[in-house]
Structures are given as C-alpha cells and as structure tokens.
Symmetry: C2
Subunit: 167 residues, 2 copies
C-alpha cells in the first residue's frame, strides 16, 4: 500500500513497507540528513502561506527581531517533514499522525542555512482503539550548520504493526 | 516596519501596524474567513514536503486510514497561517512566534473542502525579557464545511506594545 514517490511520478507502484511499528523502539535515533534552505524558496513559501514582511523582504527582516530575512516557521517544519519522509517514513508502514506537541522555533532560519534533521523515539505503544496499529512518540530536532537548534518538536506517528503489515 | 504584501509586490512599502499587543485581550475571538482546498494544491504541497502516498494518490488515499486522498497536516497548518495573516497578522505589529502547543489533526482534509479558521485569545502578558513586547496565547480552530474541526492548536505570538509601536 505504501510507496516511495518522486516529484515526477506520484503514481509510481508502491514499494513494500520495510519498517513497521516494531522497528521504532524507545531510544532509537535516526539521522534524516541535511537540507540547504534557498532564499527564493523562503520567499515563495512565505508568499503562499505566511506573507509577513520579515519572511519576504531583506529590509523588513533586518529591522525585525530576527535580524534578517528568515524562513516562516511553517516552512522549517515542512522541510523537516520532507527529511523525515526521505529518512524513514516512505520506507515505513506510516499511517499518518494525530498531532504534535511543543513545537519550538528557537532561532531564525536564514537563506543558505543547512539544516540537519534528527528524530529520537521517546515512547512506543500499541493503539488501544486499533489492534493493528502502534503509536510512536518522537522528538525531532533541527540544527543549523553552526550546531544551533532552530526547531524542536515532539509528535505522534501511527504505524502498522508487523502482523498487520504482513497480513 | 510591518506591512501587508501581495504575491506580486513583496517589497511594497509597509502599511502602518493597526493592532498592537493591547488589541488582543483575553477572550477575544477573530474569524479569519474561509479557504477552499484545491486538489492540485494538495498534491503540489505533498510532492514538495510530505510525499506520503495518501497525500499524492487517490488509490493510496482510499486504502489508507483517511479513506481518500487528503492534505498533509502541514499543508492545513500553512493554510490556516495564511488565513491568520489576512485576518489580522498583516495589520498587526506581529513580531513572530516562539512556538506552538498541542497541534491536533482531528480529521482528514479532502479536495474541495472549505475550511474556516478562527482564533481565540487565551492569555496575554508582557514579555519579561523584552519590555516593548507582549505575548499572546491563542487557540486556533479550523473547521470544515460540515462544521467538523479538522485541526486545532494553541500557540504563542509576540506583538509590539503600543508605546513601543508608536515610538
């Protein structure tokens, strides 16, 4: 049912899910690699979704608390999501997420910054209301090239359990 | 310093900030209008940021827990942000946000759904570390055309205080 997609072929036949709920034990850490944030992508995202001046314009950014044109926090979150998809979600029996806790925007993300995304499993338990599904609570950390955390969050993911995925 | 922007003129001269921290008292409710979610926009966002099959492909969506192709939760959050920008942030002395609590994705968002975004002020206090800045904690609610909540979250916003904005 689940498959990896690329930008040109969203209907590619599904790739078998390699990782089920059992493959996300408490304490596991996964490095989801890096992404460099492009200035035009910052402005494009902001025009669509968060057109506050400090996300659109160098002068307004310089005059803001951030000290320069910087990415919408929602853009940073979306970029982290992309890294997690490529890092493990597209190869897993992911069933979506019911929500996020404690999303923190700790420092501005500037054009040219390179962000590293990591996840750590904090908690894992079967989902009471759905026998074939397990819940995983993770902490995601996004650091910039100076090793400074720019965003952290904790969130829940739902994954098929092995007997279910194999059935 | 802060101005309203449109998609074509990101460097438009700033519009005066009409609302400062004092204009967001506890209990205030603001309706930020509606947005109808386009199928192609769902797929475009998913290709860029969240290429899980149920956000890209009708068949995979139908086979998922969601029951159909549905928007990435991050897309729903970004659309809510846009409504808040248009509803009040672009006319306010907004200084950004330190974070979000308790983001809940309660129901899938399908192509053609019309989402209504509302905010309610839960808490307002001066920011201890910055004399000219006030914090506002808000609950944001996103309902679909059936009146069903699809997303809720609580988050903090920073706003210039009146004496600061006028100075």
């Amino acid at each position: 049912m689940l498959g990896a997609m690329d930008d040109d072929t969203p209907s590619t036949p599904a790739r078998a899910a390699r990782w089920t709920w059992e493959d996300f034990p408490v304490g596991q850490v996964r490095d989801c690699g890096t992404v460099t944030v492009d200035r035009d992508a910052i402005v494009d995202f902001a025009r669509r979704f968060d057109p506050q001046p400090f996300h659109l314009d160098e002068q307004a950014g310089a005059a803001s608390l951030f000290g320069g044109l910087c990415a919408s926090g929602w853009h940073t979150a979306a970029l982290a999501m992309r890294q997690m998809c490529e890092g493990y979600l597209l190869e897993s029996a992911s069933l979506g997420s019911p929500g996020i806790e404690q999303l923190r925007w700790l420092a501005p993300v500037f054009p040219g910054d390179t962000l590293r995304v990591r996840m750590e499993v904090l908690e894992a338990r079967p989902m009471a209301s759905r026998p074939g599904v397990g819940l995983v609570r993770s902490r995601w950390t996004v650091d910039n090239q100076h090793g400074r955390p720019v965003m952290t969050m904790e969130g829940w993911g739902m994954f098929a359990r092995r007997q279910s995925a194999a059935g």
